[in-house]
């Protein structure tokens, strides 16, 4: 067992209200020592999600290591997106009932009194279909900053986010153009810039390249790989080869005989793709079913 001191919030946010914490900011806790202490940013413990009293996923235990890319793969309907949405409480919007807990920097985001908007700022999300707001490129990126009461220079922060999303050079002379004038790939990078502008710690990506052509997809993959130096990325993808290309860790989900999503295998990408432990994983990634 390892005793360590941790902070409920790992960054000093000058421009936004901190997560509504119960008790003091620094707490001493005991955590299991499995060699990942201090490396984990997110952890799901005994996680279950029910829609209308029916389990979509159950008994999921998952660890997300800081500054890595974690892929979640599995056939359609196995609960990948449901699991992803748990990480920033997006399931709250779908009337889902959650069991278990999600620890973000060791703090349960499903605790009472949590500022959910702040959770979603710290754990951003990008969806399958690019969904820019019907306004200018600039406003799309500045939007999150304004609603979060950002106190710094918004112009600078917009440029920073667009650069991080590898979009700045393409849009710097047309920041006032409507976001819909961009190509699909550019729109997706704009959505990534919008998420990055508020400096999240984690970015959740739900099939971010599913609607893009191979070149636009490759740019997003390149971008993701670079972004992990600063943030942690969790990506849901149907594209097994994409998971193999970009991820450091892979989690494989499958439905059981009751059509409930289960996490059946987790591990470093090389291990899962070279020597999977589960026969079901082997069959799935080898294209024998799914």
């Amino acid at each position: 067992m390892d005793m360590r001191l941790w902070s409920l919030i790992s960054k000093d946010y000058s421009y936004a209200e901190k997560v509504d914490m119960q008790g003091s900011e620094e707490v001493t806790v005991e955590v299991d020592d499995d060699g990942m202490n201090g490396k984990m940013v997110l952890e799901g413990r005994g996680l279950g999600v029910l829609y209308a009293n029916k389990y979509a996923i159950k008994d999921v235990n998952i660890k997300i290591v800081r500054n890595t890319i974690t892929a979640i793969i599995g056939p359609s309907g196995c609960g990948k997106s449901t699991l992803l949405r748990c990480f920033n409480r997006m399931n709250d919007l779908l009337d889902a009932r959650i069991e278990g807990e999600i620890l973000f920097n060791d703090y349960n985001i499903y605790s009472n009194g949590i500022n959910v908007a702040e959770v979603r700022r710290l754990i951003g999300m990008v969806f399958q279909k690019p969904n820019p707001f019907p306004t200018s490129i600039y406003n799309n990126v500045a939007f999150g900053l304004r609603i979060n009461g950002f106190k710094g220079d918004i112009d600078e922060q917009v440029e920073y986010a667009l650069r991080e999303a590898a979009l700045w050079d393409e849009v710097k002379d047309r920041l006032n153009d409507n976001a819909y004038s961009l190509s699909g790939g550019q729109q997706q990078r704009l959505c990534i810039a919008r998420a990055l502008a508020v400096e999240p710690e984690v970015l959740l990506m739900d099939e971010p390249t599913a609607s893009l052509d191979p070149i636009a997809s490759a740019r997003i993959e390149q971008l993701i790989t670079r972004l992990k130096e600063k943030i942690t990325i969790v990506i849901v993808t149907h594209n097994i080869q994409q998971a193999a290309r970009v991820s450091d860790y892979v989690n494989v989900m499958m439905v059981d005989e009751n059509m409930i999503g289960r996490l059946i295998e987790s591990g470093p990408t090389r291990e899962v793709f070279e020597s999977p432990k589960s026969k079901v994983t082997e069959d799935y990634i080898s294209g024998r079913f799914g």
Binding site: Q241, A244, F273, E274, S275, P276, I285, S286, G287
Partner: protein, 208 residues
């Protein structure tokens, strides 16, 4: 469900079968010719060329399968192992050719005592056969046994060397025997490499 990849893997297996047959022929012919003091170098040479061509085919097909289907897990382990096994099979042929050349280099060796070589060749030929069987049937147990037998081959090689030095054997006989034993010992090593690849294919465990 039969996948497109399975068609390619099947073809790869067939190529490895062909290579196995030719490499076994090479070694058997070379040993037999050496023990019976016959020249066989041209026949072995022809087969080593066949092996080189087949190895290129294996590598081309393996690369094509990787490009087209991005295999993973057991498929990936099998395809990458095929490339390595193809190399080992070529080495079998090459050492057989080296053995066949001894007769050309040293001339008539009819008066040399070949008892040591005969018993070592018997073990090594069986190892070669077992390595190919283990690969074709993915028999991890047989593969493990190869590793143990190789220790006996290495030990036999060292003992025979000592005996040759101690017995004060005729120089031509001594030199030719040492060379043949060395080639046989290397064939045994490559049989073990194939055994280690079988273990990798089956369990994903790499030899250290």
């Amino acid at each position: 469900m039969r996948r497109l990849l399975d068609v390619g893997i099947n073809r790869l297996s067939n190529l490895l079968h062909d290579m196995s047959r030719v490499s076994q022929e090479c070694v058997a012919m070379a040993i037999d010719a050496y023990l019976s003091n016959r020249s066989i170098v041209q026949e072995v040479y022809t087969r080593t060329n066949q092996l080189a061509i087949l190895k290129e085919e294996v590598n081309d097909l393996a690369v094509e399968l990787m490009i087209r289907y991005q295999p993973v897990a057991a498929d990936l382990r099998f395809i990458s192992s095929c490339m390595e096994v193809a190399y080992d099979l070529v080495r079998f042929g090459r050492y057989a050719y080296d053995i066949a050349q001894i007769r050309e280099q040293f001339g008539d060796l009819g008066n040399c005592d070949k008892g040591m070589i005969a018993s070592m060749a018997e073990i090594v030929s069986k190892m070669l056969e077992d390595s190919i069987t283990a690969f074709n049937s993915k028999d991890e147990g047989l593969a493990e046994r190869l590793i143990r037998i190789d220790d006996a081959v290495d030990s036999s090689y060292r003992n025979n060397l000592k005996r040759i030095v101690d017995d004060g054997m005729d120089l031509r006989c001594a030199l030719s025997s040492v060379l043949v034993m060395r080639y046989l010992e290397r064939i045994a090593d490559h049989a073990v490499y194939i055994g280690e690849l079988v273990r990798y294919m089956v369990s994903g465990e790499r030899a250290r």
